[in-house]
Symmetry: C2
Subunit: 419 residues, 2 copies
Amino acid sequence: MATVVAKFGGTSVGGAERIRNVARRLIARKEAGDSVVAVVSAMGDVTDELVSLAKQVSSDPPDREMDMLLATGEQVSIALLAMAIHAMGHEAMSFTGPQVGIVTDPVHTKAKITEVRADRVREALSRGNIVIVAGFQGSTPDGQITTLGRGGSDTTAVAIAAGVGADVCEIYTDVDGVFSADPRIVESARKIDVISYEEMLEMAASGAGVLQLRSVEFARNHGVVIHCRSSFTEEPGTIVKEADETMEQAIISGVTHDTSEAKVTLRDVPDRPGVAARVFTGMADANVNVDMIIQNVSEQGTTDISFTVPQEDLVRAKKALDEVIAELGAREWSVDDSVAKVSLVGAGMRTHPGIAAQMFRTLADAGVNIHMISTSPIRISCVITADQVVTAVRSLHESFGLGADEVSAEVSPACGGGE
Amino acid sequence: MATVVAKFGGTSVGGAERIRNVARRLIARKEAGDSVVAVVSAMGDVTDELVSLAKQVSSDPPDREMDMLLATGEQVSIALLAMAIHAMGHEAMSFTGPQVGIVTDPVHTKAKITEVRADRVREALSRGNIVIVAGFQGSTPDGQITTLGRGGSDTTAVAIAAGVGADVCEIYTDVDGVFSADPRIVESARKIDVISYEEMLEMAASGAGVLQLRSVEFARNHGVVIHCRSSFTEEPGTIVKEADETMEQAIISGVTHDTSEAKVTLRDVPDRPGVAARVFTGMADANVNVDMIIQNVSEQGTTDISFTVPQEDLVRAKKALDEVIAELGAREWSVDDSVAKVSLVGAGMRTHPGIAAQMFRTLADAGVNIHMISTSPIRISCVITADQVVTAVRSLHESFGLGADEVSAEVSPACGGGE
């Protein structure tokens, strides 16, 4: 008998018939002998509707009250799902995040989970219930309702899985799993059967949207096995777990891309100690999430600094930069929001030299110009022009032989699990 | 500086502009120097919409999950109201029932408040906030979310007022206060300025819909002064408080009526000890709220028993009666759901004999036949045919001189406060 945590997103519970489908799926697991916990998001467009209500009464609603408002969305879903399970003759109990001991810091609208007291889930499971937990929400130690921000429900699921010592945390989604590239761009993209936390983190951080970075981080820190799979089929999806000797070590697991960032360049910044610190302290204070940072070599006492930020942070970034620039006396700064980041991720690149060279050559052959480069031990990312992203992803996917039926001429074919 | 608890119903918060109106009203009180707590219901039709969602997934949803679902309605209202106050430049904090220490028994969908731990309200008030509390909800000592059933938000308001020692609990409604009769039926009905808990309880119990019985009971038990007033005007409404020598003692405060009940008659029931007990134990076990009970004198070893029950309990009542009748061997039973109850309420009738006689004569003169009679020390109720209720109420209102400009020939004109 296994303990399973299954997370369903807003689309999966968007309407009575879909809720019944989720109920049937959970009941089947229960009848197969498993202990079952479901974590669910708000139904379909409910969160958007709540945000729209808030905008009708306030142009700038306080974060604490937004959390109070938005937390109702998941609460509706859990009650309805528990009712649907009851109507099918099985026991179910729903719990809000606060009820189930999801304790967070007090940063409203993007709180972080600090503790999970899963006693009530365990107790309800032990009495034979299918337990339904509201994703995306928790409460501070002094009982304020908080929400977890983007990717919150996935993180709730992983946290509950850690709390009850679940054998697996299943994240149900509208795709079949994690792919070697976005299947909407690369027809031959291959589903990855098993991937390590480390690679999944790099893929999530560089644009693979199927799993949220923070939930993968939480899973790695607590040793929770994630199974990312489709809610439309019974087929297995992608398992994310600790790398071990049974796992095929892919040289390259996948190609990811991200078009949500903008590139900021500061020109002729005085080249003296503390300048970079001043720039990025300013960004941090403005709560701007800086991704890649490049500083070019100094020339006649000044230097150029480029970095990427999420486009949605641009307004805040610009405001903060105006101050920084005035203080530092840089010549000018510019923003380019028609950029894309394309990345190669693979644990095997640590031990295979030449991957970077092959990546740059492939992009050059495809006529793609590289603006910025950054690397980690298992990832190489290039910032390019946004309208070349499809070309870049396809060329790299082919060049590294990542497709379902391909064998690369240049890299050994031991890529991922293969189907 | 007074401490005020103000309760607003679903209509008062049904939309952004109405929420802003409530916000302005609360801010005005705050600026006048008062400490202000608002208790609000779910917006307009939200509760109905949630019930309809539940019906889509289950024909018989568990009460615990209905509470989980319905509690979201008030939570949306409190968040939006707090946002609206913030947008007008004032501090506000919203709290759910569970957060604010509304502790209840575990009877889901109609829980009773067992304790109010109002520390958080007091603390938030002391920091200068307008405090917004979700009506209608609470939680059990072990943290299950409950709802209070009909009249729940009024009861929450009174409970919070008791908890913080408020000077007054204002119940805002769509009428100007408590009237000497329903103004939709009696044009000359007079607003009552001050009324005792005792009379208000009798009026609420016998059909005056403006205040819920249980909230008046709670107020009496905890000495909370209620001010029932209109949300459309600044005019004072009706004060409900302990009777004291400063209060004018009306002989008759008002005429009430109630068309929501049905009359059940059991014929030829064996007249032996324990029969009535068996009948009404059966009703109680079926959770049927019996109001008036009449047992006629015995004739040849059998008797007739009549009683009234809410029409909404009729299905349950009939089911229970089938069993009881089979067991007792009564001849037959019948239901008449086209009845109405008309009542006279007044603390002064204790010391004024002849009120009952005048009531029956008035009804007879108006051609109204009386089916059943029951009395309390300060109330006389008659069950009549439903289509005669308007005639009955108008005749009694006139006969006892309750109108705004009337002086009764038969009863002294010291009725209520007068305007």
